[in-house]
Amino acid sequence: MPATAAVAPPPTAPEQLASRLSSGDSDESLLPTLREIKNQIIGNRTKKLLYLRLRAVPKIVALLSSSSSPSPVIVQAAAAVGSFACGVEEGVRAVLDAGAVPHLTVLLSHPDAKVVDSAARSLRIIFQSKLAPKYDFLLEENKTFLLSLLNSTNENITELAASIVAHSCEKPTEQTSLCDAGVVQKLVSLLGGSSNQRDTSLDAISAIVKNNPEVATKFVSISNGKAFISLMGLMQDRYPRTRLLACVCLISIEQAFPVYFQEMQIKTKLILILLDLIEEAGRVGDEAPFVLKGLIGESEELHRQALSVTAAERLCGYLRKGKAVLEARRLDGILLVLAELGSKLEQSRAQLIELQVPSLIIDLLKHDCAQVRVAACHVIKNISRSLKHLCAGRFGSESIVMPLVQLLCDSSTSVQTAALDAICNVAVNLTTKKSALLQSGGVSILCQLARSMHSEVQLKSVRALRNLMFLLDRKDKDLILTELTVSTLTILISDPDPLVQEQALALAGNFVDGSGVSAKFIFSEDISIIDAVSRQLKGECSPGMCIQGMFFLANMAAENELQKDAVMDCILPTSLDLSISHPNFFLVTFLQSKERLLRLSTLWCLINLVNPDQRNSFRVSALQGAGIISQLKTMVNDPCLDCKLRGFKLQLHHGIKMPPSKHQIEKTYLS
């Protein structure tokens, strides 16, 4: 007949269990306590943290080294230590601080096999953490210890050995040393072992061959290539984790020894397997996209190959099916692969746009996880490198612009900078209207960020404003500069960071491009953009800054008499007695520069100053008197055709020398 089911006793309170550990006993009376602690903490982060606060770990670790601890106690204590270290960083730290590693290492030689197994399993868990100590394999004793572990018949110990290699082997000298000691062959032999042995061995082989062509070459030669063939076979293993680790291993070999992988077939197979693995549950599916990104890297060839096997469609398919439910890590990985695919090739970007990727990922710009928001910005940034689609206004809509603008105020700086990069490209929007960005409140935020103390944020904001200013209507240009203020612009032009100076100068140049520049922005009583530019050009400035500065002056000189005169004041020395080698007389230096654009921008400035349609004879005389016009004679030998032609134009207008006819130029080219 039915009877009342036995009721399990309620769990003992952690405080009670922890206090029992303090009893000073190390005999078997502690076994129930240890078992119960271990059972409570397995898979339970909260309980682990609680026991850490109760300082249980040092007491348990002490049992490992106590000579009076019987084997069953040591087994449970080791298992508990391993459990504390599993998946909880604070637990790993506590275990390491309590000195568990050396005690567990000693236990690997214990006469009781169960103790050895328990110690080995716990050590393996510890060595999965980045916090675990690293073995220096250049020390002979460590290498000897490792080899003794690899030679063991105990599966847990050989797995531990492989884990230690995977965790610790980093330097090329260590890789070579382990390879020379025969460690790679031993690891290869584990590929035929149990699933765990295979996985840890694959991890270890990846660590040893990574970026080491010499070791990679030796690996592919093992057993006349049979080891490599085994590895290839593991790509088809029934366990997803093994397939993933096999891919990682092959990619490490490919990157160290690319000649061996010239056949596209293997790389295509890797791409397809990794695309499949993205659908797997758990960590395998989360990590697969990162491995895929590592594979295709910056290789245009692999980008093309990935596209040809419908990688973009599949990745978009994953997003369409499950972006609301996918783990943040996996979303991050998928987005980074899409961003990578859009980074180089126009055909890739075109395909991603056709697949509606921008619309697909817009809501991911609001994802809870900052990394996902960053990755989504990267996708937009890379796809919007497409000039064709920028011209077609594909990225100027409110639906894309608004979320990006909101990210400019994100609490995470890395999100802000990623959003700034995306806006920087989107702001170019080569249609005549940039209304979404102008009306979104983005201008105000960009101007604030241009004053940021964070150097990267500041630089990217100024660059974004520069791009926004590109070919904008005069009315909108004036609005932006009113918001930014002339004062801030002059400060930016004089910023200590040369990169900021260059962007600010380009921003100023874009502002004065086009007609109708209001004098109120250029000339004021206290602050003058042209004075700031002039100071930079006369100082020690980089070629990039000088180029932008000269284009600013060229644009000014194309406006009206007042601005032309201002440019003349800027470029000519204050006294005609100054020689042309005076540091203030930068124009001649620029005309002689190795930088093509600097020569060109200087020539255009001069062309605009002495435009023959304008009243300019006094300017011509001043430039001639300062010896500038005569410098133009050297332009006949300029290696840049554009510079040569502008030099000819100047000389033609001012009777220095008749330029060669078009026929002569062609004859020169053809000879």
Binding site: E301, K388, C424, R466, D513, E559, D642, L645
Partner: protein, 216 residues
Amino acid sequence: MPVRVVETTSPSHSSGQDLSSAQPSPPSCSLLCAGRSFCGTQNVSSLQKDEAWKVNVRIQGCDIEHGFLCGTMEALNVPLADTPVVTFWEGEIVDAKNHTFFTGKWEATPEDDIRHWSKFPSFTPLLSQIEDDGGKSLDLSNYPYIFMRWKEQYFVNVGADCGLTIAGFYYVCFSCTDGSISGFYYDPNSSPFQKLELKCMNAKPGGFSFSSYELV
């Protein structure tokens, strides 16, 4: 100025390329850049009548490295239209790397290509070097003319049923010296050799000005 497009990824090489031989620089000119405007006429004469439309062209984007540019073309006093007709076009720059003198599409055969390019006096010295392969080994970086093809993609301000056609494309020759443009429209179904002639315009009263952007 040539628009400076700076990308943060480092340039990569396609497999199989001989890295020891440097690629010639693409042809470029500071008068052919985004923002630059041109105006002139397109001769649309037929056997029945003489006719010319006023045309304004604006370059909107220019990627010299990839031999791509694009812009708008506005045709005024078009008989069939109440307003100026604006189209968006994309262009290919003949640079031997991205594009050769041979079109390879748009119903233009190599013979059509040579026939049209030969209408430009500046092309004549190059003819012997392009007959075999369209000029794949030509270095045009120091030639004072830039050759392009412009293909209109769509109407911007009128419907496709406006009675006008954009089925063909232009063979274009740009003079680096003064920024002037000549072109010939090619469309097997339209009057042959309709000529486009444009001059480069100053945006400002006192000369040429320049704008730039930087993609990341």
